[in-house]
Amino acid sequence: MNLINHETVVKRMKSRLSKNSISKWIFFALTMFVLLILGILLFRIFSQGFGYLDLQFLQSLPSRKPENAGVYAALIGTIWLMAVVAPVSLLLGVGTAIYLEEYAKDNVITNFIKVNISNLAGVPSIVFGLLGLTVFVRALAFGTSVLAAGLTMSLLVLPVIIVAAQEAIRAVPNQLREASFGLGATKWQTIVRIVLPAAIPGILTGGILALSRAIGETAPLVVLGMPLFLAFLPKTLLDSITVLPLQIYNWTGRPQVEFHALAAAGIIVLLVMLIIMNSIAVLIRNKFQKRY
């Protein structure tokens, strides 16, 4: 019995092989297309904004005249925002992760918290803005302050930190905990002196990545009503701030080309900050993270 018709196989072989090699190039080309877009994006922004990027740009307050305008207020505002987001989100995030990994029993409540966190990660950032507007700006009467913005952003990045901290804590091998218990340490002592020190590189990496997301977000702050244009610096937690993305948004929205160049220069400053933060995160991960 001749089940395989040799001629048909030979006939079809050619088209199958050519389809194979063509598709390989298509897949490769589309992947390269994505990288190309990134290249164009960066090239455009750098070529547009480089002319405006100098020390004066970093040290000036925003101005109606493009040649005098700068990002100083936005830069300081971004640092203030980080100063609120970092402690609040780390405290809440790491606390939650410790609870879920070390204390929580496998019951309905724990399950609910876990499902809730993964759903929270999918909520659009602008909806967090609405929450912040109602709760922080209006109900708690913080106004359009650093505090209101920082707390809103902390809630926004909380899922990122929780997941990163959970992974870091889970990666600490159980032998270490058992050895600590075996020597008579209590559970809390074990967590503070054994588990957390071992998990700190992973937690820090996740924390920095979350922070870099927080300083790049625009939408929630617009909803909170943060000023897009601010010519003074904050002194207390209840003062208004503007941040880099808001300043960029403000400049992008203007029709004049000079302001677009300013926006590009602002984007360069923002991207450089993000690159520095991400490099620190990668550095910590590579240098301190141990594999057990």
Partner: protein, 332 residues
């Protein structure tokens, strides 16, 4: 490992000291009892810490409850002024008229829909192609270079994409399609597609890499070409992860704000035309937040009603993605 061990030693040093000092006069049992008495203060920490940590965990739950309650309450206030029927069926969204404003959500949904469909048309083929290339064709060194670049692309703030859409993509498209307006659905749609491509690519690639090699080898041994293996074996086997990644990507596109706020315009309409100015749900919220709308007006409450609609849309998409991964996952 060594460092942790040293932490362990530091932590236990007190115990050792005690032990070496007192071996002659105390039995170990007495020592433990002594220690327990001394540590009543530490015992309290031990007892309350779980509750404090539980409270921090409760914050994330409270956030969700806060979001839902905020949206529901303010949306109810909105429906005091505008009937539910009008909200869902009226064909015009024009809130800025004091006497006869019209609040029909459909034009805003239409704007979101147009942008999302364009984004999906861009992102799904490119994302899948990249995923197939990375998991099936790329050498290890190529993957090590390309994957971090995709991560960079995913980490770029959306306002940067918005700027890119307005100042680069729109002018180019206007050269190709002369009738294109400055603000349109096409340009932000394409750029959102580029923004969600890395997400679809990397999640799909994860799903494809988890397909065991034995299946690929089986197909190759039967004479299949690499392309046939990718399309007929790996793709079907990883389909749950791939579909979930697409659904998550679309959910991101629906909730995307700054790109459409910068490049999409502010003209809500019900037309299928993608060359004209539009307004999405998110862009409307931004537009109202930026203006000086008085607290307590119908327009103020309308952003919550729109936010509620947006929240329901994305929640349904996210739950769908979770359901797909759970229901159709194939374990190997």
């Amino acid at each position: 490992m060594v460092k942790c061990a040293s932490h362990l030693v530091i932590g236990m040093k007190g115990v050792f000291k005690l032990a070496t000092q007192n071996t002659n006069s105390f039995s170990v049992q007495k020592m433990i009892q002594e220690k327990k008495k001394k540590k009543s203060a530490g015992g309290i920490t031990e007892k309350i810490m779980p509750y404090i940590l539980f409270l921090t965990a409760a914050v994330s739950v409270l956030t969700t409850i806060g979001i839902v309650l905020t949206l529901i309450f303010e949306t109810f206030l909105f429906f005091d002024a505008v009937s539910i029927k009008e909200f869902f069926t009226a064909k015009v969204w024009y809130p800025f008229s004091e006497t006869n404003g019209s609040f029909g959500i459909l034009p805003l949904v239409m704007g979101t829909l147009k942008v999302t469909v364009i984004a999906a048309i861009v992102a799904v083929p490119i994302g899948l192609a990249s995923a197939i290339y990375l998991s099936e064709y790329a050498t290890d060194s190529a993957r090590r270079i390309i994957k971090p670049i995709l991560e960079v692309l995913a980490g770029i703030p959306t306002i940067v994409y918005g700027f890119f859409a307005l100042t680069f993509v729109t002018p180019i498209l206007r050269d190709i399609i002369p009738s294109l307006e400055i603000f349109n659905a096409l340009s932000p749609g394409i750029v959102i597609g580029i923004m969600i491509t890395p997400m679809i690519a990397s999640l799909s690639e994860d799903a494809m890499t988890s397909v065991p090699n034995s299946m690929r080898e089986g197909a190759l041994a039967l004479g299949a070409t690499k392309f046939e293996v990718a399309i007929k074996v790996v793709l079907p086997a990883a389909i749950s992860g791939i579909v979930a990644s697409i659904v998550l990507g679309i959910s991101r596109a629906i909730g995307e704000t700054m790109i459409v706020a910068v490049a999409g315009g502010s003209t809500p309409n019900l037309e299928w035309d993608i060359t004209g100015s539009i307004q999405t749900m998110t862009a409307y919220i931004v537009q109202v937040s930026q203006g000086d709308v008085g607290y307590g007006t119908t327009i103020y409450y309308s952003i919550y009603a729109v936010g509620m609609t947006l929240f329901v849309f994305t929640l349904v998409m996210n739950l769908l993605a979770q359901y797909i991964t759970r229901r159709f996952r194939e374990e190997y």
